[in-house]
């Protein structure tokens, strides 16, 4: 409901850049607008994101095209049970010529890191990654190295196959600013995916030919640079957050802590993440201020992985999603959980 005439030119300029990125992503990935928005939110706020979804929803492709659209480095690590922390962070190896140890950095030294199926790795590997995510630096041997900026971890988790996995504990999940649950594409989007795939064709290579994939047809021309990204990050930081919005955030966070079905409520980090993400969403939607809609839209991604239902709720067959929706519906409908003075 915001009139763009009211919005500053600076915000409009950023909105154009964001739209260019979205258009570029749309050339390869069909639909998934919500995921693209969440990835941009993570990118603009420097918060990491966990994507929960079954395999085959173009997560890798999405991150790959996003990195190429903004000219960012991209690495992908497939997490497995036998992965070691040094496989991610790097290690020191002996140079036989100089007879000295040389530091070889691992794939974590990138801008966008796709940690595929993070729950398949052993807890010490998860711990090493999550520590690096938090501190944005890595220590190899005696040497402490800073990670490049921007640094964003996009981790994925398959919610179906849980055999042989190591579930991330709440404390580590809290490190992810957002946890987005991917859904299957709509029938119309699926139709488009199939049509595009059928039109990919083959390419000749050596004496034979290989079938093209979406990765092959990806345009390598970036629509923005890291400077654009930095200016967007700055713009997000300038987005106005009213006192009223702050009260809404406090109310929501407080309700998670007092809800009868919730054992572990949202941490203060959850409140911070909610405001950061709302600011980024406001910018993406061409506003220079946040509104309750941002809170409602992002609540599930920010709050759901930070709360834990109690035994009674689980025994009743309730899900975190249902409890959170009920809680949000109760806002205004039931008296505030915080005592307010006139």
């Amino acid at each position: 409901m915001t009139d763009h005439n009211d919005v500053s030119d600076e915000v409009l300029e950023k909105t154009r850049f964001i739209q260019d990125v979205r258009d570029q992503v749309a050339t390869v990935v069909v639909g998934q607008d919500e995921v693209v928005e969440r990835l941009l939110i993570s990118l603009f706020t420097g918060g990491h994101i966990l994507l929960q979804g079954v395999p085959g929803l173009a997560k890798t492709l999405l991150v790959s095209v996003l990195s190429k659209s903004i000219e960012l480095d991209f690495s992908r690590i497939q997490f497995t049970i036998d992965l070691l922390p040094s496989d991610i962070l790097g290690s020191q190896i002996l140079d036989q010529k100089s007879n000295e140890f040389v530091t070889r950095t691992g794939p974590i030294f990138t801008n966008l890191l796709l940690a595929d199926e993070i729950n398949r790795a052993a807890p010490k590997v998860q711990g090493a990654l999550l520590e690096a995510m938090q501190e944005r630096k890595v220590t190899i041997g005696n040497e402490t190295l800073s990670l490049p900026a921007p640094f964003l971890v996009i981790a994925t988790q398959n919610p179906v196959e849980q055999a042989g996995t190591f579930e991330l504990p709440e404390a580590q999940l809290d490190r992810f600013m957002l946890c987005h649950r991917l859904n299957y594409p709509e029938p119309s989007e699926e139709r488009e995916v199939l049509k595009r795939n059928m039109a990919l064709g083959i390419r000749k290579e050596d004496r034979g030919a290989v079938v093209n994939t979406e990765f092959d047809v990806m345009q390598h021309k970036p629509v923005g640079s890291s400077e654009d990204l930095v200016s967007c990050m700055q713009a997000v930081n300038d987005i106005h957050v009213s006192d009223t919005f702050l009260e809404h955030v406090i109310e929501v966070i407080n309700r998670t802590r007092n809800h009868p079905n919730i054992e572990l409520g949202c941490s203060p980090r959850g409140g911070i993440a909610l405001i950061k993400a709302s600011r980024a969403r406001a910018l993406i939607n061409g506003r220079n201020y946040v509104i309750p809609e941002d809170l409602f839209v992002l609540a599930e991604d920010v709050i759901l992985h930070r709360i834990r239902l109690n035994y009674e709720a689980l025994a009743d067959g309730l899900t975190g999603q249902a409890v959170l929706q009920d809680m949000l519906r109760d806002l205004g409908a039931t008296p505030s959980s915080i005592s307010r003075e006139a």
């Binding site: 409901m1 009213s242 009223t244 109310e251 946040v290 509104i291 205004g332 409908a333 307010r340 006139a342």
Partner: protein
């Protein structure tokens, strides 16, 4: 010397007689000393009992037998004789012949068998039949154990009754005094009044904003719809849309260049009867 010879012969006869008498007395004493003795209930063994005839076994025990007899071992002892090792214990004091409790294994009559006497003695005094015979004492009807048990049971019953009664009374009183929580309309009206007169703080304005959203969500029967979707629907609504837009400008937009007339914005909700929304919903439902 015929007198002297006669006298010597007499002395020899006397010596023989004395010797025979001694042997008889000694034999009697020895036999008497070999009689087995045991007290009631205590077992005793007799070894090397040689009995003539075919092999013997213990008769079947019947109720009232004063002796329980057992043959520990049997060995042949020359032609037509067996040597036995016996164990017994007496149940009643008295003198018994163990041979009375034996029979031939081959079923032939027992015949002439020398006695195997045993004596079972009682340790208790002759007049004492049982070790301790308790005397039955009648319990008095009033006082003592029965009285106290009855009293405690009555007190326990009264206590349980009082607790149940008190709880029911408290619950009933609670129900009487407990007022139903205020409806959304009841809460909304005073907040609107205060907002128009500018008495609401930022936090209360935030609550008012959510109450208005909840009001329209209820009015449009969107209570089960996803909250994020509801906001989009409300923004498209002809009445709720402008309200939310004005609230957005008033509460969230920085340096709003449009003045929002709070009184005009909230005027439709100022004189809203407390039960208006509920009545409206009931009408919609019917």
């Amino acid at each position: 010397m015929p007198g002297k010879q006669k006298r010597n012969r007499l002395l020899d006869l006397m010596r023989i007689f004395a010797g025979l008498a001694f042997c008889l007395v000694y034999a009697q004493a020895g036999f008497a000393g070999s009689q087995s003795t045991a007290s009631v209930g205590m077992s005793a063994r007799i070894e090397e009992v040689i009995l003539p005839g075919s092999e013997l076994q213990v008769k079947k025990i019947v109720d009232g037998d004063p002796i329980i007899l057992r043959i520990i071992s049997t060995h042949p002892h020359g032609p037509d004789m067996f040597r036995y090792e016996l164990e017994y214990y007496g149940l009643q004091p008295g003198e018994y012949n163990l041979a009375d409790f034996l029979e031939r294994k081959d079923g032939t009559p027992l015949g002439e068998v020398s006695a195997v006497p045993v004596q079972v003695e009682s340790i208790l005094a002759a007049d004492r039949v049982e070790p301790n015979s308790p005397d039955a004492v009648s319990i008095p009807r009033i006082g003592g154990y029965r009285f106290w048990m009855t009293l405690i049971f009555i007190m326990w019953g009264v206590g349980v009754f009082l607790i149940v009664f008190a709880r029911r009374k408290t619950a009933a009183e609670g129900e009487e005094h407990q007022q139903p929580p205020p409806t959304l309309s009841e809460r909304l009206q005073p907040m609107v009044e205060k907002a128009i007169s500018g008495e609401l703080s930022n936090s209360q304005m935030a609550e008012l904003e959510m109450m208005l959203v909840a009001f329209w969500r209820k009015r449009l029967q969107l209570e089960q719809t996803d909250v994020a979707e509801v906001t989009q629907i409300l923004k498209q609504h002809k009445e709720a849309g402008p309200l939310l837009q004005q609230l957005e400008i008033l509460l969230h937009q920085p340096d709003a260049n449009q003045e929002v007339n709070v009184a005009q914005m909230l005027e439709p909700y100022q004189h809203l009867p407390a039960e208006a929304l509920d009545e409206e919903l009931a009408a919609l439902a019917s």
